[in-house]
Symmetry: C2
Subunit: 355 residues, 2 copies
């Protein structure tokens, strides 16, 4: 499968809702920032140098070392992708929105299952990411480490004995490691425990964002929790801390779900089934409504209220109903009203194909 | 079928959604007020006299004249019915809420299909009502007239040459005739034409109310339009005027529906299907929500958006999901939260039995 085909597929390994604690934890992600010796950081990088870095990474992924360690990877320059395809990469959380600027300088490396994902010339020369479903931070870190080791056999990464890996932004200096988990926390939101939890997380040096954009924390009750500090802690400490926090959030969310369902059985069942009824029959639906209703439906699946709906389908629906994905599937640029109609059609077809 | 059994059945002829113009007109109703010579009006009526009137009506409906003209009728004193059964008669629009006061003095006569319906000792000694589905005001009037004629062979009605039939309330003096139609006007409400129409109707001497209670005009987009004046017009004039107005409302509503559907196909289809999805899957639903969603669903049936749903079922659901009916069906007095759950269960069962 070519990278363009990969992109057009709503499937990513991290979306398949498998993995440990997958009733609460959607996915785990580890990202490490690396820069090549002898080149300016990307914001000062000219076209020629950007090009050289893209070539260097291309040769690295073609090396026997990388192929042996992590298998086949494919690099695509942003200019090889259509604007819609680039936007889909953003919607699948494989690249940041910043990558859409100055596409001539930028590229992305992916494995076929999208577990390995390297942004080239974003804020750093390389941002090596690994994404897995469920709570698999250690596994992500191990894999990112392997990719890093393989790359380092070919590429010369900037490193200072006293500071660690050098990065464009000082907050990444040191390990250059950012780890995050994506959680589905509907019960903590419904019981209004979420605000005090968010405050606590922030005091622990963790950042919380929504699935799409920093301003949309509550949409779909999906929260991305990541470490903020990379200096002064070892990689293992960062990963272990986040795992501990994630496990605690899993426990809190599960407790809240059971208490909520016990105390308010009918309101919860009603909410869940209404969401299902609306998703199954609406003829026009916005992206925000979709995420919130899918969240309610997923809670119903997790509480065994609604049978026979695979969790993976719910995440697939969240991704495939984003604007660019809809344009790609439809093969044309839809206006917002057309998108709402096509989105509802897709959701209906997917849900009806189950029964 | 005994009157108590009749009462417990959600079926009434007027609810079966047949008859002319039944896409807009739910039902037609004609009521005539009659009082017996030699007795005070009901508000001044003692128990003994009330009892005598109940006996007089009983003997009238047992007379050969009545049986020949309108067939079998059954009288029940209010005291023979449980409070729940009395409330169901109100919910089926067969008696007014006033009939629940002083039940010892009051009774009701019904035909098995509930087309003929006589309230005894409400505001007048007899209020003879005929109810039919669709636009059948003339048919109602003819039938009410027959019942009146049959009754008059046995009973002596108070009549003054210069004023016509004497009634307890001066607004009914003259013909003693009140005629009404129940209309479903969702498109006139959605397009906000309804307010100017209501103003016009009021200028024409017509009264508009909701299906349940005077203050609930908009619930379910159901409007009852009736004549206000009974003096100075012949019965035929009253009936003809109301038929003319009803036909005009039918035309206006149909035009509004088609224009709305043409201009806003997807929003309308979305609204209709969402209503269907919610009714089909909700686990708890209020009476008001039910009426409004059933109204949306019925619009979908009338516009051929939703296939295979009989209109009669929609009216049946409106009636059978009223509080007293739910209590009767469940066999116990439910609190509001229990009623909302039972209501949702009933609606689900009915809709699922169709497919």
């Amino acid at each position: 499968m070519s990278l363009r085909e990969t992109v057009s597929n709503p499937y990513s390994k991290w979306l398949d809702a498998s993995g440990p604690e997958s009733d609460v934890i959607i996915s785990s992600r580890v990202r490490i920032a690396r820069n090549l010796v002898g080149y300016p950081f990307p914001h000062l990088l000219g076209y020629d140098n950007a090009d050289k870095i893209l070539y260097a990474v291309q040769s690295a992924i073609e090396s026997a070392a990388i192929k042996e360690i992590v298998g086949q990877l494919e690099l695509s320059r942003m200019t090889e992708l259509s604007p819609t395809e680039r936007q889909i990469l953003v919607e699948k959380h494989l690249i940041s929105p910043d990558m859409l600027e100055q596409p001539e300088k930028r590229g992305v490396v992916l494995s076929a299952d999208e577990v390995i994902d390297i942004m080239i010339n974003e804020e750093d020369h390389l941002r090596i990411q690994c994404l897995l479903p469920g709570l698999q931070l250690k596994e992500c870190w191990d894999l990112a480490n392997k990719v890093d080791d393989g790359m380092e056999q070919i590429l010369d990464f900037a490193f200072a004995e006293d500071m660690g890996y050098l990065t464009s932004c000082p907050t990444n200096v040191g390990t250059g490691l950012r780890a995050s988990v994506m959680l589905h926390l509907p019960a903590l939101v419904m019981t209004q425990q979420i605000n005090s939890i968010l405050t606590t997380l922030s005091k622990l040096g963790l950042t919380v964002r929504g699935l799409y954009g920093e301003g949309t924390q509550a949409t779909g009750n999906l929260f991305q929790v990541s470490n903020q500090v990379t200096l002064g802690l070892t990689e293992d400490e960062i990963i272990d801390n986040l795992i501990m926090v994630a496990k605690q959030l899993v426990t809190q969310e599960r407790t809240a779900r059971l208490a909520l369902y016990k105390e308010q059985q009918y309101p919860i069942e009603d909410r869940v089934w209404r969401a299902y009824g609306l998703l199954k029959y609406a003829r026009s639906i916005t992206s925000t409504d979709t995420m919130n209703l899918l969240s309610d439906m997923r809670l119903g699946v997790d509480l065994n209220i609604i049978p026979n709906i695979p969790r993976g389908l719910i995440m697939e629906l969240i991704v495939m109903t984003r604007p660019a994905f809809l344009n790609k599937l439809k093969g044309e640029d839809l206006n917002p009203a057309q998108r709402d109609i096509f989105r509802a059609t897709l959701i209906r077809e997917k849900l009806n194909s189950l029964s």
